[in-house]
């Protein structure tokens, strides 16, 4: 594989730790930078499609109380309850990683710390989900 013009020529790259794959260790591929991008993209698309549906189901508030309650009732069962944990998980990741992207773009040290920032994102995600998921699942399963 020939390096695209503009990247550092082979042999001039700073010494690297153990490579994870043939392409790992180049600027983005195979490491934290790539996975944060992949996850950001997948969560962004998932949230977008949910938003389309969510605007439509909320619009039923303008039809009749019965119509709205019937549709929202289909969200209030254990299967959807677990799905909601996934949805909130996707939104929370996208939100924190979005802030990471903004820091990488605007903060002068952002690019130097992008890898660490990814683990900060994961840490904040875990904390937020610990605050949300148990409480939500108790609501879903105990009423």
């Amino acid at each position: 594989m020939s390096a695209p013009t503009g990247t550092l020529a082979e042999g001039h790259r700073p010494a690297q730790k153990k490579k994870k794959s043939a392409v790992a260790g180049t600027l983005y591929r195979g490491n934290e930078g790539m996975w944060s991008w992949v996850l950001h993209r997948i969560t962004g698309v998932a949230i977008f499609f949910f938003l389309l549906v969510h605007i439509l189901d909320t619009a039923l508030i303008r039809v009749t109380p019965e119509a709205y309650n019937a549709v929202i009732g289909t969200y209030q069962n254990p299967i959807m309850g677990i799905g909601e944990v996934g949805l909130v998980g996707a939104i929370v990741f996208h939100a924190f990683n979005g802030l990471r992207i903004i820091l990488v773009d605007y903060w002068s040290k952002g690019t130097a710390y992008q890898k660490y920032l990814f683990y900060v994102v994961i840490g904040l995600w875990v904390v937020t989900m610990l605050a949300f998921a148990p409480r939500h699942l108790i609501n879903v399963f105990s009423h």
Binding site: A9, R41, G44, R62, Y68, G98
Partner: protein, 148 residues
């Protein structure tokens, strides 16, 4: 010594006029910061406080949407999130839909869906009546004259 091959990129010849792509890029970041606040507030009030998802019904939404604060909150959420999401999807269409026709169709579909849902959602927020005439009194918010 590190050698960087020259020229790395051809000189950029900018077209004149507004750089929409740049403003789109800035919009993704500006709206993103606001959306963190708007979405976390939205999820906190609807899913975390009280009985969470189990408390959501017509009367619950009626209570929120009769308060000007939540009307403004939900309007901002609707506009900012939908435009942010649609603009993000436009990036994906540009990345993956390389055929000119498919690319065009997908972008028009995105634009159409965005405009329709923004108009629909905004109308719902501002024409909504939490105490509709003739509604079942057991389903409406407690502040409605007919509620029981």
């Amino acid at each position: 010594m590190t050698t960087i091959q020259a020229p790395r990129t051809p000189a950029v010849t900018r077209r004149r006029g507004v750089n929409w792509e740049k403003w789109g890029w800035i919009y993704m970041r500006a709206s993103g910061v606001l959306l963190v606040v708007l979405i976390f507030g939205h999820l906190f009030v609807n899913l975390w406080v009280g009985d969470g998802i189990k408390a959501i019904d017509f009367a619950f939404v009626g209570g929120k949407l009769s308060d000007p604060f939540w009307k403004v909150w939900d309007t901002l959420l609707l506009w900012l999130a939908l435009i942010h999401g649609a603009n993000g999807m436009r990036t994906l269409v540009n990345d993956y839909a390389t055929k000119r026709l498919t690319n065009g169709i997908l972008k028009w579909a995105l634009l159409l869906a965005t405009v329709i849902l923004i108009v629909l959602g905004t109308l719902v927020i501002y024409t909504f009546d939490p105490c509709p005439a003739g509604a079942d009194p057991s389903l409406v918010a407690s502040f409605c004259p007919v509620a029981n």
